[in-house]
């Protein structure tokens, strides 16, 4: 039976169930808007380890183990782990997974990695290739700054459109059986590049990719935006969010009532992050914390999560290339009793 719908979407026949999630964040996120939804807030960005990269690995390892523990399972029962982060050669992920010792596939989708892992994990389960899959993504503010921008102690002034990379990691366990919200459909994104070059304006660069995938998803599934209680994008920030609303309006759809960006949900205004949050952990901790909880408690029944990724590198930026972007979508729905 063909599960493909339309141009880029799939409809799961045996929708995988998200049986548990876990999230861990740094102190700044722990003072933010979603603080009561995180499982663990670290006292500082090093957490008594030797480097930021080690700290990021620790967060991912912690998140995966905590998610597995929460559903009273054992890490040996996980058939496959799908995970990724922002650093070169997936450094944090590889060192985290070294200690977990389970079959693993590394993913790079920049900040779309969480949704990419949920999408592929759901396919593995619905395809009958696995019964239990753990998905995870992480990012670390200082580790990312140092790779993509400047040393953290350098006295630079950030423009108002800049976003703040989230320190944190989120993990979700997908199972063939169990209770919890289901992943019902998914849409695989295309690379979209509208010629934005400024790496301080990633929200604007990613907005057209988010709109492309959202539009295609709605076309492919025949749904209207109001089908969802909420549509979330991963880390567009305040500028990107506004652009998505405007671009959708140009296509004739008003999504301003049930659309929010995870990047605008994490920090408080006073925390001076400028345009909001970014990084793999933005969508990961928002989904594995707040959004998953609101689905479990039936405050929301159907949501669409769009992971948005800005696929530039320091080399591509220095060679004056534009920023290619991508967005993937999964719809997560609470089972109707």
């Amino acid at each position: 039976m063909n599960k493909k719908r339309g141009k880029q979407s799939v409809l799961f026949v045996n929708p995988p169930i998200i049986t548990s999630t876990a999230s861990i964040v740094g102190p700044m996120e722990g003072e933010g808007l979603l603080k009561e939804y995180y499982d663990f807030i670290m006292p500082d960005n090093l957490n008594n380890l030797d480097s930021w990269e080690q700290c990021e690995s620790y967060m991912m390892e912690w998140a995966i183990k905590a998610a597995v523990k929460k559903e009273n399972s054992n890490i040996d029962r996980i058939d496959c782990i799908l995970a990724g982060d922002l650093l070169n050669q997936l450094m944090s992920t590889h060192f985290a997974l070294k200690k977990i010792n389970r079959p693993f596939l590394g993913l790079y989708g920049a900040c779309s990695t969480m949704v990419e892992s949920l999408l592929l994990g759901a396919m593995l389960i619905d395809g009958g290739f696995a019964a239990k899959v753990a998905t995870a993504a992480s990012s670390h503010h200082d580790a990312a700054e140092r790779q993509y921008r400047f040393p953290s102690e350098l006295g630079v002034q950030r423009p108002p459109s800049a976003q703040w990379t989230v320190t944190g990691s989120g993990s979700a366990v997908l199972s063939i059986m169990g209770s919890g919200p289901q992943i019902t459909t998914a849409t695989i994104g295309k690379i979209v590049d509208y010629g934005i070059k400024d790496p301080n304006a990633m929200g604007s660069a990613m907005a057209p990719a988010a709109v492309d995938t959202l539009w295609t998803h709605l076309q492919d599934t025949g749904r209207s935006p109001t089908y969802y209680d909420m549509i979330y994008t991963g880390d567009l920030g305040s500028v990107g969010k506004q652009l998505v609303i405007e671009l959708m309006k140009e296509k004739g759809l008003d999504i301003s009532v049930n659309y929010e960006d995870c990047g605008c949900m994490i920090y408080r205004q006073e925390q001076d992050t400028h345009a909001g949050a970014s990084g793999c952990a933005s969508s990961a901790v928002a989904f594995c914390g707040y959004i998953y909880n609101s689905l479990l408690s039936s405050k929301q029944k159907r949501i669409l999560l769009l992971g948005t990724g800005s696929l530039h590198s320091t080399t591509s930026y220095q060679q004056n290339e534009t920023i290619p972007c991508i967005a993937h979508a999964v719809s997560v729905e609470m089972q109707q009793d």
Binding site: D50, R146, E153, G155, P160, E246
Partner: protein
């Protein structure tokens, strides 16, 4: 072929339109506020430098020696406040006001040195220390060469 180029043109137009849209939506930096901060902080750093110079002149050093000593003290202070994690907080607000003075130069060298210490003393500190300040040194030397050359020609 013609169809393809027409498509390309349309795509380009769409992109240009989008970039305009981005421009109108992107918040502008608070220029006046930034100017004021840069002016005041930059001025205060220079004032401090003047105080230090006067102090050494008072001690009986000549002008050349006093300004050299003042530079040494300012560089030390820049490095020190970078080390205790204060200078980046200052730079966030003062912008050019704390980058342009010599203390900013100290910050540009100490910050990467601190950051890359974990990669060791050779490939970490040694190689990465000048990653920000390096271009300033290179083009500073190049400019000095040309200025010296012009000076030599005129003699």
């Amino acid at each position: 072929m013609a169809h393809e180029s027409k498509n390309n043109q349309q795509e380009k137009l769409k992109q240009q339109q989008f970039q305009k849209q981005v421009e109108t939506l992107t918040p502008k930096p608070p220029f006046i506020k930034n100017f004021c901060w840069a002016f005041v902080i930059g001025g205060l750093i220079c004032l401090l430098g003047q105080f230090i110079t006067d102090f050494f002149l008072e001690l009986g050093l000549n002008e050349n020696e006093a300004s050299t000593f003042a530079t040494v003290v300012l560089v030390f202070l820049g490095a020190f406040f970078t080390g205790i994690g204060v200078y980046d907080e200052l730079g966030k607000r003062a912008g050019a006001g704390s980058i342009v003075p010599i203390t900013g130069f100290a910050n540009a060298i100490v910050a990467p040195a601190m950051e890359f210490k974990r990669e060791g003393y050779v490939f970490g500190i040694g190689a990465k220390m000048f990653v920000i300040a390096g271009p300033v040194l290179v083009y500073g030397l190049v400019t000095a060469f040309f200025v010296g050359f012009i000076y030599w020609l005129r003699q």
